[in-house]
Protein backbone atom coordinates (compact mmCIF):
# COMPACT_ATOMS: atom_id res chain seq x y z
CA UNK A 1 0.00 0.00 0.00
CA UNK A 2 1.36 3.42 -0.96
CA UNK A 3 0.96 6.71 0.89
CA UNK A 4 -1.27 7.91 -1.92
CA UNK A 5 -3.54 4.88 -1.49
CA UNK A 6 -3.84 5.58 2.25
CA UNK A 7 -4.90 9.15 1.54
CA UNK A 8 -7.43 7.89 -1.04
CA UNK A 9 -8.97 5.65 1.62
CA UNK A 10 -9.19 8.60 4.02
CA UNK A 11 -10.92 10.65 1.31
CA UNK A 12 -13.44 7.85 0.74
CA UNK A 13 -14.24 7.54 4.44
CA UNK A 14 -14.07 11.13 5.64
CA UNK A 15 -17.82 11.70 5.21
CA UNK A 16 -17.60 15.25 3.90
CA UNK A 17 -16.94 16.49 0.33
CA UNK A 18 -13.21 16.68 -0.33
CA UNK A 19 -11.94 20.24 -0.60
CA UNK A 20 -9.49 20.18 -3.53
CA UNK A 21 -8.51 23.78 -2.83
CA UNK A 22 -7.21 23.12 0.67
CA UNK A 23 -3.55 24.12 0.69
CA UNK A 24 -3.20 22.49 4.09
CA UNK A 25 -4.34 18.93 3.46
CA UNK A 26 -1.63 17.95 0.98
CA UNK A 27 1.63 15.97 0.85
CA UNK A 28 4.42 18.03 2.40
CA UNK A 29 7.49 15.89 1.96
CA UNK A 30 8.57 12.53 0.57
CA UNK A 31 7.32 10.39 -2.28
CA UNK A 32 3.54 9.73 -2.19
CA UNK A 33 4.15 6.49 -4.06
CA UNK A 34 6.47 5.09 -1.39
CA UNK A 35 5.35 1.85 0.21
CA UNK A 36 3.86 2.37 3.66
CA UNK A 37 5.33 0.23 6.46
CA UNK A 38 3.34 1.89 9.19
CA UNK A 39 1.36 5.05 9.87
CA UNK A 40 1.92 7.58 12.66
CA UNK A 41 -0.70 10.21 13.49
CA UNK A 42 0.41 13.31 15.40
CA UNK A 43 -0.62 16.88 16.04
CA UNK A 44 2.71 18.35 14.90
CA UNK A 45 5.46 16.77 12.81
CA UNK A 46 8.25 18.01 15.02
CA UNK A 47 11.79 16.83 14.32
CA UNK A 48 11.67 14.86 17.58
CA UNK A 49 8.37 13.18 16.72
CA UNK A 50 9.65 12.27 13.23
CA UNK A 51 12.67 10.53 14.75
CA UNK A 52 10.53 8.56 17.21
CA UNK A 53 8.16 7.50 14.42
CA UNK A 54 11.12 6.33 12.33
CA UNK A 55 12.52 4.35 15.28
CA UNK A 56 9.12 2.65 15.57
CA UNK A 57 9.18 1.68 11.87
CA UNK A 58 6.37 4.06 10.88
CA UNK A 59 7.12 5.91 7.65
CA UNK A 60 3.85 7.67 6.77
CA UNK A 61 3.29 10.61 9.08
CA UNK A 62 -0.19 12.13 9.21
CA UNK A 63 0.06 15.47 10.97
CA UNK A 64 -2.64 17.95 11.92
CA UNK A 65 -0.34 20.96 11.88
CA UNK A 66 2.49 22.24 9.72
CA UNK A 67 5.94 20.76 9.18
CA UNK A 68 7.97 23.85 8.21
CA UNK A 69 6.97 26.38 10.88
CA UNK A 70 4.33 28.23 8.87
CA UNK A 71 0.74 27.39 8.05
CA UNK A 72 1.24 27.15 4.29
CA UNK A 73 4.41 25.13 4.68
CA UNK A 74 5.97 27.70 2.37
CA UNK A 75 9.64 26.79 1.96
CA UNK A 76 11.01 29.29 -0.56
CA UNK A 77 12.74 31.34 2.15
CA UNK A 78 14.09 28.22 3.82
CA UNK A 79 16.19 26.71 1.00
CA UNK A 80 19.47 27.65 2.72
CA UNK A 81 18.23 27.16 6.27
CA UNK A 82 20.32 24.43 8.02
CA UNK A 83 17.39 23.20 10.13
CA UNK A 84 15.18 22.92 7.05
CA UNK A 85 17.91 20.95 5.30
CA UNK A 86 18.48 18.64 8.26
CA UNK A 87 14.78 17.90 8.75
CA UNK A 88 14.15 17.39 5.03
CA UNK A 89 17.19 15.16 4.57
CA UNK A 90 16.21 13.02 7.55
CA UNK A 91 12.73 12.41 6.17
CA UNK A 92 13.90 11.66 2.63
CA UNK A 93 16.85 9.50 3.70
CA UNK A 94 14.50 7.29 5.72
CA UNK A 95 11.92 7.05 2.93
CA UNK A 96 9.31 8.79 5.06
CA UNK A 97 6.28 10.69 3.76
CA UNK A 98 4.47 13.56 5.49
CA UNK A 99 0.83 14.34 4.74
CA UNK A 100 -1.28 16.89 6.61
CA UNK A 101 -4.92 16.54 7.63
CA UNK A 102 -6.26 19.76 9.08
CA UNK A 103 -9.20 21.31 7.23
CA UNK A 104 -11.00 18.02 6.75
CA UNK A 105 -10.65 17.06 10.40
CA UNK A 106 -12.38 20.30 11.38
CA UNK A 107 -15.12 19.62 8.80
CA UNK A 108 -15.68 16.01 9.95
CA UNK A 109 -18.57 15.00 12.19
CA UNK A 110 -17.47 14.59 14.84
CA UNK A 111 -14.34 16.77 14.82
CA UNK A 112 -11.88 14.50 16.63
CA UNK A 113 -9.75 17.45 17.77
CA UNK A 114 -12.71 18.86 19.71
CA UNK A 115 -13.85 15.45 20.98
CA UNK A 116 -10.33 14.70 22.22
CA UNK A 117 -9.80 18.11 23.74
CA UNK A 118 -13.09 18.02 25.68
CA UNK A 119 -12.31 14.51 26.94
CA UNK A 120 -8.75 15.48 27.93
CA UNK A 121 -9.93 18.31 30.21
CA UNK A 122 -12.61 16.14 31.85
CA UNK A 123 -15.71 17.64 30.20
CA UNK A 124 -18.29 14.90 29.59
CA UNK A 125 -20.72 14.53 26.71
CA UNK A 126 -18.52 15.73 23.87
CA UNK A 127 -18.34 12.42 21.97
CA UNK A 128 -20.09 13.88 18.91
CA UNK A 129 -18.75 17.42 19.12
CA UNK A 130 -18.00 19.40 15.98
CA UNK A 131 -15.76 22.41 15.30
CA UNK A 132 -18.17 24.79 17.09
CA UNK A 133 -19.31 22.58 19.91
CA UNK A 134 -21.44 25.00 21.92
CA UNK A 135 -21.47 25.22 25.70
CA UNK A 136 -20.97 22.17 27.95
CA UNK A 137 -22.03 22.21 31.58
CA UNK A 138 -19.90 20.72 34.34
CA UNK A 139 -20.72 20.44 38.06
CA UNK A 140 -20.15 23.86 39.59
CA UNK A 141 -16.59 24.43 40.74
CA UNK A 142 -14.13 27.31 40.96
CA UNK A 143 -11.93 28.41 38.06
CA UNK A 144 -8.87 27.54 40.15
CA UNK A 145 -10.17 24.03 40.98
CA UNK A 146 -11.11 23.41 37.38
CA UNK A 147 -7.68 24.59 36.18
CA UNK A 148 -6.02 22.23 38.67
CA UNK A 149 -8.16 19.38 37.34
CA UNK A 150 -7.12 20.26 33.77
CA UNK A 151 -3.47 20.23 34.85
CA UNK A 152 -3.87 16.81 36.50
CA UNK A 153 -5.71 15.29 33.56
CA UNK A 154 -3.60 16.69 30.71
CA UNK A 155 -0.22 16.60 32.44
CA UNK A 156 0.52 19.90 30.71
CA UNK A 157 3.31 22.02 32.17
CA UNK A 158 2.90 25.46 30.68
CA UNK A 159 -0.76 26.31 30.21
CA UNK A 160 -1.99 29.76 31.20
CA UNK A 161 -5.15 30.98 32.91
CA UNK A 162 -6.82 34.38 33.15
CA UNK A 163 -9.58 35.43 35.56
CA UNK A 164 -10.33 35.12 39.27
CA UNK A 165 -9.38 31.61 40.51
CA UNK A 166 -12.22 31.87 43.08
CA UNK A 167 -14.89 32.56 40.43
CA UNK A 168 -17.68 29.95 40.40
CA UNK A 169 -17.89 28.36 36.97
CA UNK A 170 -19.84 25.58 35.24
CA UNK A 171 -20.39 26.54 31.57
CA UNK A 172 -17.47 25.60 29.30
CA UNK A 173 -16.88 26.78 25.72
CA UNK A 174 -13.97 25.04 23.98
CA UNK A 175 -12.26 25.54 20.63
CA UNK A 176 -9.21 23.61 19.42
CA UNK A 177 -5.76 24.98 18.61
CA UNK A 178 -5.83 28.54 17.33
CA UNK A 179 -9.65 28.46 17.11
CA UNK A 180 -9.95 29.65 20.71
CA UNK A 181 -13.55 30.94 20.83
CA UNK A 182 -14.72 34.40 21.72
CA UNK A 183 -16.12 34.66 25.25
CA UNK A 184 -19.92 34.87 25.17
CA UNK A 185 -22.72 35.61 27.63
CA UNK A 186 -23.52 31.87 27.67
CA UNK A 187 -20.07 30.75 28.83
CA UNK A 188 -18.09 31.06 32.08
CA UNK A 189 -14.83 29.56 30.82
CA UNK A 190 -13.27 29.61 27.37
CA UNK A 191 -10.73 26.88 26.67
CA UNK A 192 -8.46 27.02 23.66
CA UNK A 193 -4.98 26.25 22.48
CA UNK A 194 -3.63 29.70 21.80
CA UNK A 195 -4.80 33.14 20.71
CA UNK A 196 -3.09 36.41 19.90
CA UNK A 197 -2.91 38.16 23.26
CA UNK A 198 -4.15 41.58 22.10
CA UNK A 199 -5.11 43.51 18.95
CA UNK A 200 -6.80 40.51 17.34
CA UNK A 201 -10.32 39.94 15.98
CA UNK A 202 -11.34 39.61 19.62
CA UNK A 203 -9.18 39.78 22.72
CA UNK A 204 -10.41 37.29 25.33
CA UNK A 205 -7.52 37.99 27.68
CA UNK A 206 -8.32 41.66 28.28
CA UNK A 207 -12.06 40.93 28.22
CA UNK A 208 -11.77 38.35 30.99
CA UNK A 209 -9.43 40.56 33.04
CA UNK A 210 -12.04 43.33 32.89
CA UNK A 211 -14.95 40.97 33.56
CA UNK A 212 -13.07 39.75 36.64
CA UNK A 213 -12.52 43.36 37.71
CA UNK A 214 -16.30 43.82 37.47
CA UNK A 215 -16.87 40.72 39.62
CA UNK A 216 -18.22 38.63 36.74
CA UNK A 217 -17.34 34.93 36.81
CA UNK A 218 -15.32 34.54 33.63
CA UNK A 219 -12.11 32.67 32.88
CA UNK A 220 -9.80 31.68 30.04
CA UNK A 221 -7.62 28.60 29.90
CA UNK A 222 -5.01 28.58 27.12
CA UNK A 223 -3.80 24.99 26.94
CA UNK A 224 -1.14 25.52 24.29
CA UNK A 225 -1.62 24.39 20.70
CA UNK A 226 -0.08 20.93 20.97
CA UNK A 227 -1.77 20.13 24.29
CA UNK A 228 -5.12 21.34 22.95
CA UNK A 229 -5.27 19.38 19.69
CA UNK A 230 -3.10 16.40 20.45
CA UNK A 231 -5.67 14.03 22.05
CA UNK A 232 -7.86 13.96 18.93
CA UNK A 233 -5.02 12.54 16.85
CA UNK A 234 -5.38 9.31 18.83
CA UNK A 235 -9.07 9.28 17.86
CA UNK A 236 -8.01 9.77 14.24
CA UNK A 237 -5.71 6.72 14.48
CA UNK A 238 -8.58 4.65 15.97
CA UNK A 239 -10.89 5.78 13.17
CA UNK A 240 -8.35 4.95 10.46
CA UNK A 241 -8.02 1.41 11.85
CA UNK A 242 -11.68 0.83 10.94
CA UNK A 243 -10.82 0.96 7.22
CA UNK A 244 -7.06 0.34 7.00
CA UNK A 245 -6.04 -3.14 8.17
CA UNK A 246 -2.87 -3.92 6.21
CA UNK A 247 -0.35 -1.72 8.09
CA UNK A 248 0.06 -0.72 11.73
CA UNK A 249 -1.40 2.65 12.72
CA UNK A 250 -0.07 4.34 15.84
CA UNK A 251 -0.63 7.65 17.59
CA UNK A 252 2.81 9.23 18.15
CA UNK A 253 2.37 12.36 20.27
CA UNK A 254 4.41 15.50 19.78
CA UNK A 255 5.83 16.76 23.09
CA UNK A 256 4.52 19.89 24.72
CA UNK A 257 7.32 22.22 23.62
CA UNK A 258 7.57 24.29 26.79
CA UNK A 259 9.60 23.54 29.94
Amino acid sequence: MTAREVVDLIRKNVGVPWNERSYRDTFKLGNPDSTVKGIATTVMATFDMIQRANAAGLNLLITHEDTFWNDRDETKDLAENPLFKAKTEYVLKNDMVIWRIHDHMHAMKPDFTVVGSLRSVGVKGGENATMRPGVYTIPETTLGEFASQVKRLTGARAFRCVGDPKAKVRRILLGPGYATPRMTAEADVVIGGEQQEADGAFDDVEYVMDAASLGMAKGVIMLGHVVSEQPGMEDLANWMRTFIHDVPIRFVPAEEPFW
Binding site: T46, R182, E197, M209, S213, H225
Partner: protein
Protein backbone atom coordinates in the same frame (compact mmCIF):
# COMPACT_ATOMS: atom_id res chain seq x y z
CA UNK B 1 -20.92 56.02 23.26
CA UNK B 2 -22.43 58.87 21.29
CA UNK B 3 -20.01 61.37 22.80
CA UNK B 4 -17.08 59.18 21.91
CA UNK B 5 -18.20 59.06 18.27
CA UNK B 6 -18.50 62.84 18.04
CA UNK B 7 -15.11 63.24 19.64
CA UNK B 8 -13.60 60.83 17.20
CA UNK B 9 -15.00 62.71 14.25
CA UNK B 10 -13.79 66.01 15.62
CA UNK B 11 -10.45 64.47 16.28
CA UNK B 12 -10.19 63.21 12.72
CA UNK B 13 -10.81 66.73 11.43
CA UNK B 14 -8.33 68.13 13.86
CA UNK B 15 -5.70 65.52 13.09
CA UNK B 16 -5.33 66.92 9.58
CA UNK B 17 -3.96 70.17 10.98
CA UNK B 18 -1.62 68.53 13.48
CA UNK B 19 1.76 70.17 13.58
CA UNK B 20 0.44 73.66 12.82
CA UNK B 21 0.18 74.48 16.48
CA UNK B 22 3.64 74.86 18.00
CA UNK B 23 4.17 73.48 21.50
CA UNK B 24 3.37 76.09 24.11
CA UNK B 25 1.06 78.06 21.79
CA UNK B 26 -1.84 77.49 24.14
CA UNK B 27 -0.63 80.11 26.61
CA UNK B 28 -2.56 80.32 29.84
CA UNK B 29 -5.56 78.43 28.45
CA UNK B 30 -6.31 75.20 30.29
CA UNK B 31 -4.53 72.22 28.79
CA UNK B 32 -7.08 69.98 27.08
CA UNK B 33 -6.66 66.38 25.94
CA UNK B 34 -6.80 67.77 22.41
CA UNK B 35 -3.86 70.06 23.23
CA UNK B 36 -1.79 67.22 24.69
CA UNK B 37 -2.50 65.00 21.68
CA UNK B 38 -1.40 67.78 19.33
CA UNK B 39 1.87 68.07 21.17
CA UNK B 40 2.40 64.32 21.06
CA UNK B 41 1.65 64.34 17.33
CA UNK B 42 4.07 67.20 16.74
CA UNK B 43 6.70 65.52 18.89
CA UNK B 44 6.45 62.16 17.16
CA UNK B 45 5.75 63.51 13.65
CA UNK B 46 4.36 61.48 10.78
CA UNK B 47 0.85 61.25 9.38
CA UNK B 48 -2.07 60.46 11.65
CA UNK B 49 -4.67 58.85 9.39
CA UNK B 50 -8.07 58.54 11.05
CA UNK B 51 -8.27 54.95 9.73
CA UNK B 52 -5.14 53.85 11.65
CA UNK B 53 -5.23 52.18 15.06
CA UNK B 54 -3.98 55.28 16.87
CA UNK B 55 -6.62 57.74 18.05
CA UNK B 56 -9.17 58.43 20.74
CA UNK B 57 -11.18 55.36 21.80
CA UNK B 58 -13.40 56.92 24.49
CA UNK B 59 -13.90 60.22 26.28
CA UNK B 60 -14.13 63.90 25.46
CA UNK B 61 -11.05 65.50 23.92
CA UNK B 62 -12.06 68.98 25.09
CA UNK B 63 -11.72 67.88 28.73
CA UNK B 64 -9.00 69.53 30.79
CA UNK B 65 -6.09 67.17 31.50
CA UNK B 66 -5.15 66.72 35.16
CA UNK B 67 -2.49 64.12 34.53
CA UNK B 68 -1.41 61.55 31.94
CA UNK B 69 -1.15 57.80 32.40
CA UNK B 70 0.66 55.49 29.96
CA UNK B 71 0.14 51.73 29.83
CA UNK B 72 0.56 48.79 27.48
CA UNK B 73 -3.12 47.86 27.87
CA UNK B 74 -5.86 50.02 29.35
CA UNK B 75 -7.60 47.31 31.36
CA UNK B 76 -10.32 48.31 33.80
CA UNK B 77 -7.84 47.79 36.66
CA UNK B 78 -5.41 50.18 34.96
CA UNK B 79 -8.21 52.74 34.54
CA UNK B 80 -9.11 52.38 38.23
CA UNK B 81 -5.48 53.07 39.14
CA UNK B 82 -5.42 56.04 36.75
CA UNK B 83 -8.40 57.56 38.58
CA UNK B 84 -6.72 57.02 41.94
CA UNK B 85 -3.55 58.69 40.65
CA UNK B 86 -5.61 61.68 39.45
CA UNK B 87 -4.61 61.11 35.82
CA UNK B 88 -7.47 61.40 33.34
CA UNK B 89 -5.76 61.07 29.93
CA UNK B 90 -4.77 57.44 29.41
CA UNK B 91 -2.41 56.50 26.55
CA UNK B 92 -2.57 52.80 25.73
CA UNK B 93 -0.44 50.75 23.37
CA UNK B 94 -3.01 47.95 22.88
CA UNK B 95 -6.79 48.16 22.33
CA UNK B 96 -9.22 49.14 25.10
CA UNK B 97 -12.37 47.37 23.90
CA UNK B 98 -11.14 43.82 23.30
CA UNK B 99 -9.90 43.74 19.75
CA UNK B 100 -8.74 45.71 16.76
CA UNK B 101 -12.33 46.85 16.17
CA UNK B 102 -12.46 48.44 19.66
CA UNK B 103 -16.09 47.39 20.21
CA UNK B 104 -17.35 49.66 17.43
CA UNK B 105 -18.42 47.00 14.99
CA UNK B 106 -21.33 44.82 16.06
CA UNK B 107 -20.41 41.26 16.92
CA UNK B 108 -20.36 39.30 13.66
CA UNK B 109 -20.48 35.60 12.99
CA UNK B 110 -18.03 34.18 10.45
CA UNK B 111 -19.24 30.82 9.13
CA UNK B 112 -17.25 28.07 10.83
CA UNK B 113 -15.28 30.48 12.97
CA UNK B 114 -17.91 31.82 15.37
CA UNK B 115 -18.42 35.41 16.45
CA UNK B 116 -15.71 38.05 16.17
CA UNK B 117 -15.63 41.36 17.98
CA UNK B 118 -17.50 42.47 21.06
CA UNK B 119 -20.49 44.73 20.31
CA UNK B 120 -21.41 48.00 21.98
CA UNK B 121 -24.22 46.29 23.91
CA UNK B 122 -21.89 43.74 25.52
CA UNK B 123 -22.09 44.13 29.34
CA UNK B 124 -18.32 44.43 29.82
CA UNK B 125 -17.95 46.93 26.95
CA UNK B 126 -20.85 48.95 28.40
CA UNK B 127 -19.49 48.90 31.95
CA UNK B 128 -16.08 50.08 30.75
CA UNK B 129 -17.59 52.94 28.77
CA UNK B 130 -19.65 53.93 31.80
CA UNK B 131 -16.58 53.88 34.04
CA UNK B 132 -14.66 56.06 31.58
CA UNK B 133 -17.57 58.51 31.32
CA UNK B 134 -18.24 58.65 35.06
CA UNK B 135 -14.62 59.52 35.85
CA UNK B 136 -14.09 61.86 32.91
CA UNK B 137 -11.30 59.75 31.41
CA UNK B 138 -10.02 60.08 27.86
CA UNK B 139 -8.49 56.91 26.42
CA UNK B 140 -6.17 57.35 23.44
CA UNK B 141 -4.40 54.56 21.61
CA UNK B 142 -0.75 55.34 20.89
CA UNK B 143 0.87 52.41 19.18
CA UNK B 144 2.01 52.90 15.59
CA UNK B 145 3.51 56.32 16.17
CA UNK B 146 5.25 55.45 19.41
CA UNK B 147 6.65 52.33 17.80
CA UNK B 148 7.63 53.99 14.52
CA UNK B 149 9.31 57.00 15.98
CA UNK B 150 10.60 55.61 19.22
CA UNK B 151 11.08 51.99 18.26
CA UNK B 152 14.32 52.01 20.13
CA UNK B 153 12.51 52.86 23.34
CA UNK B 154 10.44 49.67 23.23
CA UNK B 155 13.66 47.64 23.15
CA UNK B 156 15.72 49.92 25.41
CA UNK B 157 12.86 50.05 27.91
CA UNK B 158 12.72 46.25 28.09
CA UNK B 159 16.52 46.05 28.44
CA UNK B 160 16.39 48.63 31.22
CA UNK B 161 13.69 46.67 33.08
CA UNK B 162 15.93 43.59 32.87
CA UNK B 163 19.03 45.50 34.00
CA UNK B 164 20.80 44.92 30.68
CA UNK B 165 21.07 48.47 29.34
CA UNK B 166 24.86 48.58 29.61
CA UNK B 167 25.24 45.34 27.66
CA UNK B 168 23.89 46.51 24.30
CA UNK B 169 26.15 45.33 21.47
CA UNK B 170 25.38 48.18 19.06
CA UNK B 171 22.87 50.99 19.10
CA UNK B 172 20.96 50.02 15.95
CA UNK B 173 20.31 46.40 16.85
CA UNK B 174 18.48 44.71 19.71
CA UNK B 175 21.37 42.41 20.65
CA UNK B 176 22.70 42.29 24.22
CA UNK B 177 25.74 40.43 25.58
CA UNK B 178 24.60 39.71 29.10
CA UNK B 179 26.59 38.16 31.97
CA UNK B 180 26.90 34.43 31.27
CA UNK B 181 24.37 32.16 32.93
CA UNK B 182 22.39 29.04 32.06
CA UNK B 183 19.10 29.44 30.23
CA UNK B 184 17.27 28.37 33.40
CA UNK B 185 19.05 31.00 35.48
CA UNK B 186 18.39 33.67 32.86
CA UNK B 187 14.71 32.75 32.79
CA UNK B 188 14.54 33.06 36.59
CA UNK B 189 16.13 36.50 36.32
CA UNK B 190 13.63 37.61 33.67
CA UNK B 191 10.72 36.31 35.77
CA UNK B 192 11.74 38.27 38.83
CA UNK B 193 12.92 41.34 36.89
CA UNK B 194 9.53 41.76 35.21
CA UNK B 195 7.37 40.56 38.14
CA UNK B 196 5.91 37.76 36.07
CA UNK B 197 3.25 35.31 37.25
CA UNK B 198 2.32 32.60 34.75
CA UNK B 199 2.83 34.15 31.34
CA UNK B 200 6.45 33.25 30.64
CA UNK B 201 7.08 30.11 28.60
CA UNK B 202 10.49 28.83 27.52
CA UNK B 203 11.49 26.36 24.79
CA UNK B 204 14.83 24.81 23.97
CA UNK B 205 17.93 23.89 25.95
CA UNK B 206 17.53 24.79 29.62
CA UNK B 207 21.23 24.11 30.32
CA UNK B 208 22.53 26.25 27.42
CA UNK B 209 25.00 28.97 28.32
CA UNK B 210 23.38 32.30 27.58
CA UNK B 211 25.51 35.24 26.58
CA UNK B 212 24.02 36.89 23.47
CA UNK B 213 20.33 37.77 23.67
CA UNK B 214 17.97 39.33 21.13
CA UNK B 215 15.19 41.41 22.69
CA UNK B 216 11.96 41.64 20.71
CA UNK B 217 8.97 43.27 22.45
CA UNK B 218 5.57 42.50 20.90
CA UNK B 219 4.88 39.75 18.36
CA UNK B 220 7.62 38.16 16.22
CA UNK B 221 7.14 36.78 12.70
CA UNK B 222 8.54 33.41 11.57
CA UNK B 223 10.77 35.17 9.01
CA UNK B 224 12.60 37.04 11.79
CA UNK B 225 12.90 33.82 13.79
CA UNK B 226 14.37 31.89 10.87
CA UNK B 227 16.81 34.67 10.06
CA UNK B 228 18.10 35.49 13.50
CA UNK B 229 17.64 32.63 15.95
CA UNK B 230 20.97 30.95 15.18
CA UNK B 231 22.83 34.25 15.78
CA UNK B 232 21.94 34.26 19.46
CA UNK B 233 21.85 32.09 22.55
CA UNK B 234 18.42 33.33 23.57
CA UNK B 235 15.53 35.30 22.15
CA UNK B 236 13.28 37.16 24.57
CA UNK B 237 10.05 37.88 22.72
CA UNK B 238 6.58 39.19 23.53
CA UNK B 239 4.56 36.53 21.75
CA UNK B 240 4.82 34.09 18.85
CA UNK B 241 2.53 31.51 17.35
CA UNK B 242 3.19 28.06 18.71
CA UNK B 243 3.00 26.25 15.36
CA UNK B 244 5.54 28.70 13.92
CA UNK B 245 8.38 30.05 16.08
CA UNK B 246 7.85 27.76 19.08
CA UNK B 247 7.89 24.70 16.85
CA UNK B 248 11.06 26.04 15.16
CA UNK B 249 12.82 26.49 18.52
CA UNK B 250 11.78 22.97 19.57
CA UNK B 251 13.13 21.52 16.30
CA UNK B 252 16.45 23.36 16.61
CA UNK B 253 16.80 21.91 20.11
CA UNK B 254 16.24 18.43 18.63
CA UNK B 255 18.89 19.21 16.00
CA UNK B 256 21.36 19.82 18.84
CA UNK B 257 21.72 23.60 18.89
CA UNK B 258 22.04 25.00 22.41
CA UNK B 259 19.62 27.92 22.46
CA UNK B 260 16.36 28.97 24.07
CA UNK B 261 13.30 30.94 23.04
CA UNK B 262 11.55 32.77 25.87
CA UNK B 263 8.13 34.33 25.35
CA UNK B 264 7.18 36.65 28.18
CA UNK B 265 3.74 37.80 26.96
CA UNK B 266 2.83 40.53 24.51
CA UNK B 267 1.58 43.07 27.05
CA UNK B 268 4.33 42.37 29.57
CA UNK B 269 6.95 42.89 26.85
CA UNK B 270 5.46 46.24 25.87
CA UNK B 271 5.09 47.73 29.36
CA UNK B 272 8.71 48.93 29.73
CA UNK B 273 8.36 50.80 26.42
CA UNK B 274 5.28 52.58 27.75
CA UNK B 275 7.19 53.42 30.91
CA UNK B 276 9.74 55.07 28.59
CA UNK B 277 6.82 56.86 26.92
CA UNK B 278 5.84 58.41 30.27
CA UNK B 279 9.43 59.63 30.69
CA UNK B 280 9.40 61.13 27.17
CA UNK B 281 6.10 62.88 27.91
CA UNK B 282 7.57 64.69 30.91
CA UNK B 283 9.60 66.81 28.50
CA UNK B 284 6.74 67.29 26.02
CA UNK B 285 4.06 68.19 28.56
CA UNK B 286 5.44 70.05 31.56
CA UNK B 287 2.17 71.36 33.03
CA UNK B 288 0.79 68.06 34.33
CA UNK B 289 2.41 64.85 35.62
CA UNK B 290 2.86 61.77 33.43
CA UNK B 291 2.88 58.35 35.03
CA UNK B 292 3.26 54.77 33.83
CA UNK B 293 0.67 52.25 35.07
CA UNK B 294 1.58 48.58 34.68
CA UNK B 295 -1.23 46.29 33.45
CA UNK B 296 0.75 43.36 34.85
CA UNK B 297 1.08 39.74 33.74
CA UNK B 298 -2.47 38.62 32.87
CA UNK B 299 -1.76 34.92 33.41
CA UNK B 300 -1.53 32.53 36.33
CA UNK B 301 -1.01 28.80 36.51
CA UNK B 302 -2.89 26.35 38.69
CA UNK B 303 -1.33 24.64 41.68
Amino acid sequence: MRDAHISRRRFALMAGTAGLAPPGAFGAEPLTAEGVIRRIQAGLGGDWPSAGPDGVKAGDLSAVVKGIATTAMATLDVLKQAVKANTNLVLTYEPTFYGRGEGRAPAMVTPGRGPVGFGADDPVVKAKHEFIEKHGLIVFRLRDHWQAHKDNDMVAGLADALGWSAHRVKSDDALYDIPKATAEETVALIRSGLNLRGGLRAVGDRKATIRRVLLHPGPMTPATMWRRYSEVDMMVVGEVREWENTHYAADIFTAGEKRALVTIGRVVSEEPGMRACAEWLKAVVTEVPAKWIDAGDPYWRPA
